[in-house]
């Protein structure tokens, strides 16, 4: 029986368990939208911009572990998704983006709203398709979800010409898929894993560096088991935040450019690095030739191209983190004779000393709001039970440094591409996937303006996301670099006119709150968390505040710059009770 292309698409999505699509209509996808008009069990969230749709699909995916889906029209609709797709690609996030395309016979004719989106997105998707035959629709969608969510996950784009969604054909749903040229290695090489265990047993100064791959493969429990069994401290990269409880005694926080003193010192002094699901990004390693000079490196990653791309690796283990850590832990457990705690004593003492010497800190002020203080109060008020998204820049780093994460999939940030404008739509996507959770976007006044239109989406669908705008009237991170490295020549980093965010919120029928002094911070947060609507919290912060520690670009990661003035004074602030 022949059915419409639109029906094949939507019913295939349902078979893949899709319940929400983030989308925006247009000429060549009208058949799809028409079918969705009375489709059951699948809901389309109408965004205000196609970039918002892809970031929402991304936030939905990161927070839930499911594949996020976006549906947009051809031409500008499709090109508007590119930033969202590249963001997902850099952070290995499974999303499927369906784009409309002009009718097959017009492709290549510079038709109205035509763009070669398959060509444009080839380098920033894991794979992409142009469907030319209706009978291929169902198998293509099946394959796309498989590719997006398996191996090293990533975005997949399917381009759907108008005549394909408008025509009729066969619904050929394949129960099984076999792609002969695509077989990601899941199980790690047993011999290599045994070697890694030997290294851990031999090592006097080991560290684990956990990345986003631990979260993607749901390996947090196994990571924790390994750390506790072998008494190896854990450093979490920006993408790995949440994979290991940051309040755990073995946690060293974040490494790299704005990492903690003790994480960077630990790496530089270590004799063994066990890297799990991370890719030695330049923001982590600093100057490559001076990175971890004494360390043997064990690298666990599902993507062979990540291994030996930036650093020399002694023991490569290709495969799924969860799978490999499980095997590793099994082998470790058989080695009962080793007195792990005893071996590690000196090293853990050294790390404790470093933690005491230079803890993460900032200078509290009674008169002007410090951004770090806002983050601390957000943590206290939520009891840590929240999904935090960020934009990019200082807000992102302060959130990573001062909020304490103890669960995976609770910190969503554009780590690889560094996309300003990511956090707000990602928060909306996360709220769709987690309707009962508190979702907060920690934003800057620059970033929030890059996708501020999505406030309408949050209002219409009654998604009570909260946005904490750390408002310093500057592109703060750019300003910080100009102050430190460009002789205080603030070229075009002063935003001059920043809208009244309270009025903006009100204009969209959301709620706007403002805090202008430190004593306003707690009441504003408490009020926002009680409100069942989207809220913009405008925190007027100290515009001079910088992110520290900082490793200058191109320096070794132990060459950190600290805030030169006095360390933070003991402050007497009552701890906020968690608001439920």
């Amino acid at each position: 029986m022949k059915v419409s292309g639109a029906e094949i698409v939507v019913e295939s999505l349902k078979k893949e368990g899709v319940t929400h699509i983030f989308g925006y209509p247009g000429g060549v996808v009208l058949n799809l939208f028409d079918y969705l008009y009375d489709a059951k069990d699948i809901k389309l969230i109408l965004t205000r911009h196609e970039q918002g749709a892809t970031h929402m699909a991304d936030g939905y995916a990161r927070s839930s572990g499911k594949v996020g889906v976006a549906l947009v029209t051809s031409g500008p609709g499709a090109t508007n998704t590119v930033t969202g797709i590249a963001t997902a690609a850099m952070d290995s996030i499974p999303i499927v983006v369906l784009t409309g395309q002009v009718p097959t016979m017009l492709i290549g004719n510079d038709a109205f709203q035509e763009a070669d989106i398959v060509g444009i997105t080839r380098p920033c998707t894991k794979y992409n398709y142009l469907v030319k035959n209706i009978d291929d629709l169902a198998p293509t969608i099946r394959e796309a979800f498989h590719i997006a969510s398996s191996g090293r996950p990533g975005p997949v784009l399917i381009d759907l010409p108008k005549d394909i969604s408008a025509g009729t054909g066969n619904f050929n749903w394949p129960e099984k898929i076999q792609i002969r040229s695509y077989n990601p290695t899941v199980e790690g090489n047993r011999k290599m894993i045994e070697k890694a265990v030997d290294e851990i047993a031999k090592s006097k100064k080991p560290v684990i560096i956990a990345g986003g791959g631990v979260i993607l493969s749901n390996a947090s429990d196994e990571l924790r088991e390994l750390a506790e069994l072998t008494q190896v401290p854990v450093i979490t990269t920006l993408m790995g935040i949440g994979s290991f409880p940051s309040v755990h005694p073995l946690s060293l926080g974040m490494p790299g450019m704005h990492g903690t003193y003790y994480a960077n010192m630990a790496i530089q002094d270590s004799d063994l690095i066990v890297a799990v699901g991370m890719r030695f990004d330049d923001r982590v390693t600093g100057k490559i030739s001076a990175f971890a000079p004494h360390a043997t490196i064990v690298h666990i990653d599902i993507d062979p191209t990540s291994i030996r791309k930036n650093v020399h690796v002694d023991i490569p283990i290709v495969g799924d983190s969860k799978n490999i850590l499980t095997t590793l832990n099994q082998i470790v457990r058989t080695q009962q004779k080793t007195q792990w705690t005893e071996i590690r004593k000196a090293w853990l003492k050294q790390l404790d000393d470093w933690k005491q010497l230079k803890p993460m800190s900032y200078k509290y002020s009674d008169t002007v709001i410090k951004p770090q203080y806002v983050i601390e109060k957000l943590y206290e008020a939520t009891g840590g039970d929240a999904i935090i998204t960020t934009e990019v820049g200082q807000n992102q780093m302060w959130a990573a440094q001062f909020f304490k994460f103890d669960k995976p999939r609770t910190f969503l940030t554009s780590g690889g591409l560094g996309t300003m404008g990511y956090g707000f739509p990602a928060a909306i996507g996360a709220q769709v996937a987690n309707p009962d959770k508190t979702v907060i976007d920690i934003a800057g006044d620059g970033s929030i303006q890059m996708n501020i239109q999505e406030l309408a989406t949050a209002v219409v669908y009654e998604l009570p996301v909260k946005v904490a705008i750390l408002n310093n009237r500057y592109l703060g991170m750019v300003r910080q670099w100009q102050e430190m490295f460009f002789n205080e020549r603030y070229s075009h980093s002063n935003l001059n006119v920043v809208p009244d965010f309270v009025k903006v919120a009100e204009a969209y029928s959301a709620v706007g709150l403002r805090a202008e002094k430190p004593s306003d911070v707690e009441p504003v947060i408490r009020e926002a968390l009680k409100t069942k609507k989207p809220v913009f919290m405008d925190f007027v912060i100290d515009w001079k505040e910088k992110v520290f520690p900082m490793v200058p670009a191109g320096a070794a990661i132990d060459q950190m710059i600290f805030d030169e003035e006095e360390p933070k004074k003991e402050k007497e602030t009552k701890k906020l009770k968690a608001v439920k």
Binding site: R122, P123, R180, Y182, R308
Partner: protein, 161 residues
């Protein structure tokens, strides 16, 4: 180091651009590339000649393997193999040089595939050194056009009887 890499790919539209994009997107160089269908029309073989430090070539091999449409990658660098390339050269000899061109073509087992009043077009097949040598010899006589197929390569069987 120069590496010849043989890549089996799905014979689909867009595959060549995925492979080419892999190189261009990372600033790697392709010296030559040739593509053709295999006995199985659903599979093509690409022979790619590239150059780079060991670490870069390792990345190239891994990145090729990572492409969804790539079935198999074989770097022939450490493998005993046969390489061939075909070139066609349009030479413009003077009246006196014409016999010399034909003689050289014969020595190099070439074939005259076209001739006009003023030109001979010679086809030569062989490995790189043979082609370079022939080119050296005919260059002084004037080469009007020169096209090459790009290299193709195949691994030798281990046990030769």
């Amino acid at each position: 180091m120069r590496h010849t890499i043989s890549v089996q790919v799905e014979n689909k539209f867009g595959v060549l651009s995925r492979v080419a994009g892999l190189f261009s997107g990372r600033g790697y160089n392709i010296e030559s590339i040739s593509v053709g269908e295999t006995l199985d029309p659903k599979i093509s073989v690409m022979t790619i000649v590239t150059r780079g430090e060991n670490q870069i070539v390792e990345q190239i091999n891994k990145q090729l393997n990572k492409l969804i449409d790539v079935i198999k990658v074989q770097d022939l660098f450490d493998v005993d193999h046969v390489e061939r390339e075909m070139v066609m050269i349009k030479i413009t000899p003077t009246q006196e040089q014409k016999a010399e061109v034909l003689r050289l073509a014969e020595i190099f087992r070439g074939r005259v595939v076209d001739s006009s009043l003023k030109t001979y077009t010679i086809e030569i097949t062989g490995d790189e050194s043979k082609i370079e040598a022939f080119l050296e010899l005919v260059k002084p006589m004037g080469v009007k056009e020169f096209v090459r197929s790009g290299k193709i390569a195949i691994a030798r069987e281990r046990s030769r009887g």
